[in-house]
């Protein structure tokens, strides 16, 4: 069949639905953020001038950075093993990564609340083993949020890293060995640099996704662990300040889009789905 413009009309239904229920509503948010009895940047000025909002923005970036580093440290060794074991074993192990990946975020967050609560499973074991006399406070604080968010986002890191590592020719590492490099040296000077696009892609992706996180910090965080997405929800649900909620949303959206623009220079999002097919 000739490839030509005759198929273009098939795009129409999807574009109409996206236009009506995605692009137009987002445009509405943009408009709300700059329009209040006339065009004004007042609410943006308010964000910059108010210490609380700047603190929340700072905390959001801090949390995202913590989660990204934890996910990289945990994800790299696992991705390396996934990419280098026999394909049949790798397929089995990928299921262990993909099952939580496809489980509802609220379910995964709840699981960690059960594990980390003051009467939770982890504390039951710590007390039973005599490692602590009173239950530790593992939930409703920053540590809890970092654990929960790292858990939710780790599969993104692992799948990104593994997809890049699978493309690294094992012969290159063998060549380093045969030229006298130790295993560590061969890893550090050949494999690690070749996996750099995966590290860049994975960290960027996890960092960007962390910035907009809502469910896990809202349920697992303490009163001071507020992230920008939670602030947006509060402005909509409780303060009923829609124009301010819109302003915060536009700021979050702008940061996210810039992040993804950088991300697309190193990685395509579709590669995450190679393991799902």
């Amino acid at each position: 069949m000739k490839t030509d413009g005759r198929h273009v009309w098939l795009l129409l239904p999807a574009l109409l639905i996206l236009g009506a229920f995605f692009v137009y509503p987002l445009f509405g948010i943009l408009l709300r953020s700059v329009y209040k009895n006339g065009y004004t940047l007042e609410s943006y000025r308010q964000v910059v001038r108010t210490a609380v909002y700047l603190t929340v923005l700072g905390k959001t970036f801090e949390m995202a950075a913590l989660v990204t580093v934890s996910a990289l440290l945990l994800g790299y060794p696992l991705a390396y093993v996934l990419a280098t074991v026999r394909p049949r074993l790798a397929r089995l192990l990928v299921v262990i990564v993909v099952l939580p990946f496809l489980t509802s975020i609220i379910v995964r967050t709840y699981a960690w609340m059960v594990l980390l609560g003051s009467n939770g499973v982890v504390n039951q074991y710590l007390v039973a083993l005599g490692l602590t006399t009173a239950p530790l406070k593992l939930l409703y604080n920053r540590a809890g949020v970092v654990v929960g968010m790292t858990y939710v986002l780790l599969p993104f890191m692992v799948l990104t890293l593994a997809s890049v590592m699978r493309g690294i020719d094992p012969a290159l590492v063998r060549a380093a060995h045969s030229l006298g490099a130790s295993r560590w040296e061969a890893f550090r000077r050949v494999f690690l640099p070749l996996s750099a696009p995966g590290i860049a892609g994975g960290t960027l992706l996890v960092f960007i996704l962390s910035l907009g996180f809502f469910i896990t910090p809202a349920l697992m965080g303490g009163p001071s662990d507020i992230m920008i997405a939670m602030l947006i929800e509060r402005e909509v649900e409780f303060t009923l300040n829609w124009s301010f909620a819109s302003t915060l949303a536009v700021i979050l959206l702008a940061v996210t889009l810039v992040g993804f623009a950088v991300y697309y220079r190193v990685m395509r999002l579709e590669r995450l789905f190679e393991g799902l097919g």
């Binding site: 239904p13 060794p77 262990i96 509802s104 379910v107 809502f214 469910i215 349920l219 949303a249």
Partner: protein
């Protein structure tokens, strides 16, 4: 690499494998533990459960509000599946077969709901539907989820179409089939596993998602995820373990079915 090519396994390799095993345990343990504690007979969630029972399941399936939520979630997810698959299949055909200007931009637009933080999409739709006084409707939630599921469907179906040998369709055309007949009798049956898989993932995307229904649900019409959210704000109720296990089971069914479909194509 590891264990391959008869290399000796050094301490570094052992540490690496140990680390990978620990991380795998970290990934799977919470899911397994939630399923196990959901069968607990005790009043609180302890692991391992002191005795087994189905009391939390009977509370889950025996409470009318929970049963209503299953129906709402299933309705929203089914509508989402139908919308997203039809729209996504058509769009994917255009993207893979068509050659037109701005294709890259269209593709990026179709994937963009994956990039925009869901909280933003959710409040944008909330403002939109609130103005139309249409919150609390199944259709509104399904349309919101269609937007979120569309990228998933497009990614899976375009990948399937790229692996499809166009010569089968050309053969049908050269034997006198019309374009529509060739599509219906040759192409669609061949790409069916990919399309069904995409549909299942679209269903799951909706069934698992919280934020769109959190803003669009009404007092009466609430999905399972919204009910979980509301009860978690109050206390960690063991019934949620049973509800969670139900959602995990749905995920397993979708994963298993798509794996079977893939094996059939290979």
């Amino acid at each position: 690499m590891i264990g391959a090519e008869g290399q000796r396994t050094g301490p570094g390799t052992i540490a690496l494998v140990a680390m990978a095993v620990v991380v795998l345990a970290f990934l799977i343990a919470p899911v397994v533990i939630i399923v196990l504690v959901s069968f607990s007979g005790a009043d609180y969630l302890s692991f391992p459960p002191p005795q087994l029972s189905l009391r939390w399941y009977s509370r889950f399936f025996g409470t009318s509000v929970w049963r209503q939520s299953i129906v709402v979630s299933a309705q929203v997810a089914t509508l989402t599946m139908v919308f997203a698959t039809v729209l996504g299949l058509a769009a994917s055909l255009a993207l893979v077969r068509g050659r037109f200007r701005g294709k890259g931009a269209v593709y990026a637009l179709l994937l963009s709901p994956m990039i925009v933080p869901t909280i933003i999409t959710a409040i944008a739709l909330y403002f939109f539907f609130a103005r139309l006084k249409a919150t609390g409707s199944i259709l509104a939630m399904a349309l919101g989820h269609t937007v979120l599921a569309l990228p998933v469907v497009v990614i899976i179906i375009t990948a399937t179409l790229q692996g499809f040998d166009l010569r089968f369709e050309l053969a049908a055309l050269s034997l006198g089939a019309s374009r529509l007949t060739a599509l219906r009798r040759v192409t669609l049956p061949l790409i069916a596993p990919g399309v069904v898989s995409a549909a299942l993932f679209a269903f799951l995307t909706s069934f698992d998602e919280l934020l769109i229904p959190l803003f669009l649900a009404g007092v009466e019409v609430q999905t399972l995820t919204v009910r979980i959210w509301n009860s978690l704000l109050l206390e960690v109720d063991p019934t949620i373990a049973a509800v969670s296990s139900f959602l995990i089971a749905v995920t397993c069914v979708v994963l298993g079915a798509s794996a079977m479909l893939r094996r059939r194509t290979d």
